[in-house]
């Protein structure tokens, strides 16, 4: 069996709230291979961003990764390693691109300094060498006149340019895995097209693995080779991208795909998923999607479904896998 680049096993993250513990990420397991692009999709509050942050041990205050959770990256135990080792890993072998570059960048440092800092922290390069590499990287991410731009502050750049700076910072040391959390959500569609093209190009050139967290199924279809769908703190479906879109196995995935409006739509009614996502403090017993599901029967209210094999590389957390005759037309 080949060694995976990343293995996440039974990841659980909970927050203490007045209404009791909120189990925001609740038993997430998956693996990633070197060079692979995996899409992690789901709606607000499904736990996808928190899963991503946990990989770098960046869980926000109040949150706690439960004992028993395991994250292995390049054969190192991320959750057990000392802070020093973790810092050496972050930004070097494993890095992250955030949604909002304006809040993720330091407003009082020039963008060149911020990109160069990554090099200085992780390598023995001199200040001069680090600066040269930073300017070179800014050029690679498509920033025009990079030598001059490097001396500017984040507020002097447009949203698209700031996101390019973030990408330069994340990629300058050619990490093995880049986690991109909604990297284009804050951008206009023509700028999003530029950034996606840039990410695709850099991925192909460096061979990095990319974990792309997004709510946009169009972005996933275009970028990912494999997709994980999250709902209510759990992975409910995992499939190669073409299979997920052609033959989704989970009723939630099916509903989500049908609800997305497309450009060639002909003003018919959009499919909707009734109801809303339950609260993380009170996940329903049994299947967490059952109240919104058209197929649910008694078993769904009592027995939580396991992630079951529907085909090779296709796993679905639904009792329909064992009892397909229960599916309603």
């Amino acid at each position: 069996m080949t060694r995976h680049l990343l293995t996440v096993h039974d990841l659980r993250v909970a927050f203490a709230t007045e209404a009791g513990p909120a189990r925001a990420v609740d038993g997430v397991s998956f693996t990633m291979n070197a060079g692979e692009t995996v899409g992690l999709v789901g709606e607000s509050g499904c736990g996808k961003s928190l899963t991503a942050l946990s990989l770098l041990r960046l869980v926000p205050d109040g949150g706690r990764i439960a004992p028993g959770s395991r994250i292995t990256f390049e054969e190192q135990d991320v959750l057990a390693m000392p802070e020093r080792t973790l810092r050496a890993l972050r930004g070097h072998r494993l890095s992250m691109i955030f949604q909002e570059p304006m809040t993720a960048l330091n407003p009082v440092l020039t963008v060149g300094d911020q990109v160069a800092e990554v090099v200085r922290v992780h390598t023995t390069a001199s200040a001069g060498e680090a600066w040269t590499r930073a300017v070179d990287m800014l050029a690679q991410v498509g920033i025009p006149d990079p030598a001059a731009r490097a001396r500017q502050y984040p507020h002097e750049l447009s949203g698209g340019m700031r996101q390019r700076v973030m990408i330069a910072m994340a990629l300058i040391l050619e990490p093995a895995l880049v986690i991109a959390d909604e990297p284009t959500t804050a951008l206009d569609v023509t700028i999003q097209a530029q950034i996606l093209e840039l990410l695709r190009d850099l991925r192909d050139r460096t061979g990095m693995a990319l974990l792309l967290i997004t709510h946009d199924l169009g972005v996933v279809a275009e970028m990912a080779s494999r997709v994980l769908v999250m709902y209510a703190g759990e992975v409910v479906e995992e499939a190669p991208v073409a299979l997920l879109f052609d033959a989704p196995g989970h009723p939630y995935t099916e509903g989500l795909l049908a609800a997305v409006p497309t450009l060639d739509s002909t003003r018919e009614r959009l499919h909707t998923i009734p109801g809303t996502v339950p609260a993380a403090t009170a996940w329903p017993a049994g299947c967490r999607f059952r109240d919104r599901c058209a197929h649910a029967w008694e078993r769904c209210t009592t027995e939580p479904p396991a992630l079951a094999q529907l085909g090779p590389a296709h796993r679905v957390r639904c009792h329909l896998v064992q009892e397909p005759e229960r599916r309603r037309a």
Partner: protein, 341 residues
């Protein structure tokens, strides 16, 4: 000549502009203006949806607010139901507002956190003296049910609702005064896709049942293709293309519209997009380019000196299809599809 689709329109906007001064001070008149909206004209008929699309800063939101005089336009005219809105005094304008409502993007920011949602919806009824007392309560209950909430929700506060439910409250509040026209300013942009679909369907049902006219402001072109009868594309404060929905999506003619449509990611893996990736960012509306505002980013093969010199007029190139481009009659071949990933 007007950018219209026949018959007498409910709303007629002509040469609307909103310029914001920059670098001015109380003793010196401003030397520069941000031309947020710079000469926008269109019409809207009863029961029709016109979508106003474009990217951040193109002026679509400012246009919507200037029409309702939530901000005062710099110039232009807005005729609503035969009356010139920009000439009206406070009181007649207030009375006419009953017929023109707005639904905002952020339903939380636009609802008073200390008012129950029942009180928020009643407010319009009271201000316009449409109902009071038990009759108002009855109307509030009816409105809540019409937007898919329950009558007993009236006594709850905004924070008790999810984003989608709050947007339903925002819609109920707009409907309370039985308007003819609603400006929908990015009404589903903040919502998750499954909830977004619920609200899109609700808006369409309400339009059918009540004959509402919508000015639907949005950046999501896929949502627009579900909502709109006609679509106006804005760039840097101007309308650069306006056409019936089917024509705009099937045969966009302005190079910017073509790039915009091609940039939308398609939720179908393997269907490689025929994408035009624009270079650079949109220019600043404080210092718009000469001639065609799109020329610095335009990839049209016939681009020439005229594009940098003369402002193209929004002209009707085929029935109902208006385009502002000097070279629209020259066909632009789309680039070949991207190699599959």
């Amino acid at each position: 000549m007007s950018v219209s689709s026949g018959a007498t329109p409910l709303l007629e906007v002509r040469d609307l502009a909103k310029h914001y001064p920059v670098q001015g001070s109380w003793w010196r008149s401003p030397s520069q203006f941000i031309r947020a909206v710079d000469g926008v004209s269109f019409t809207l008929h009863a029961g029709e949806t016109l979508a106003l699309v474009g990217e951040s800063g193109c002026g679509k939101t400012t246009t919507g607010r200037a029409i309702l005089r939530l901000i005062e336009p710099t110039r232009g005219s807005v005729r609503f139901d035969g009356q010139d809105l920009l000439a009206l005094d406070r009181e007649p304008l207030r009375r006419l507002r009953r017929h023109m409502q707005i639904v905002f993007q952020d339903p939380f920011g636009s609802l008073n956190p200390r008012l129950t949602i029942g009180a928020a919806i009643r407010e319009g009824l009271l201000v316009h003296e449409l109902a009071q007392g038990a009759e108002a309560d009855r109307r509030v209950a009816q409105l809540l049910e019409e937007v898919g909430l329950r009558a007993e929700h009236a006594s709850r506060y905004p924070h008790e609702f999810s984003g989608g439910q709050r947007q339903r409250v925002g819609i109920a509040r707009a409907l309370a005064v039985a308007p003819k026209f609603i400006v929908c300013d990015e009404p589903v942009s903040a919502l998750d896709v499954s909830v977004q679909a619920q609200v899109v369907n609700l808006l369409r049902d309400l339009q059918r049942d009540r004959g509402l006219a919508y000015l639907f402001i949005a950046h999501d072109l896929a949502v627009v293709s579900h909502m709109a009868d006609r679509v106006a594309v804005m760039y840097l404060g101007r309308i650069v293309e306006l056409a019936p929905r089917a024509a705009l999506f099937a045969e966009p003619r302005m190079p910017y519209t073509q790039a915009l449509l091609s940039a939308v990611p398609v939720p179908k893996p393997g269907r490689a997009p025929r994408r035009i990736v624009l270079a650079g960012d949109p220019p600043s509306p404080a210092n718009p380019p000469s001639g065609c505002v799109f020329h610095p980013r335009c990839q049209h093969p016939a681009k020439d000196a005229r594009c940098t010199r003369d402002v193209p007029v929004l002209a009707e190139k085929s029935p109902g299809h208006w385009v502002a481009c000097h070279h629209v009659d020259v066909t632009t071949p789309l680039p070949p599809p991207l190699a599959p990933a």
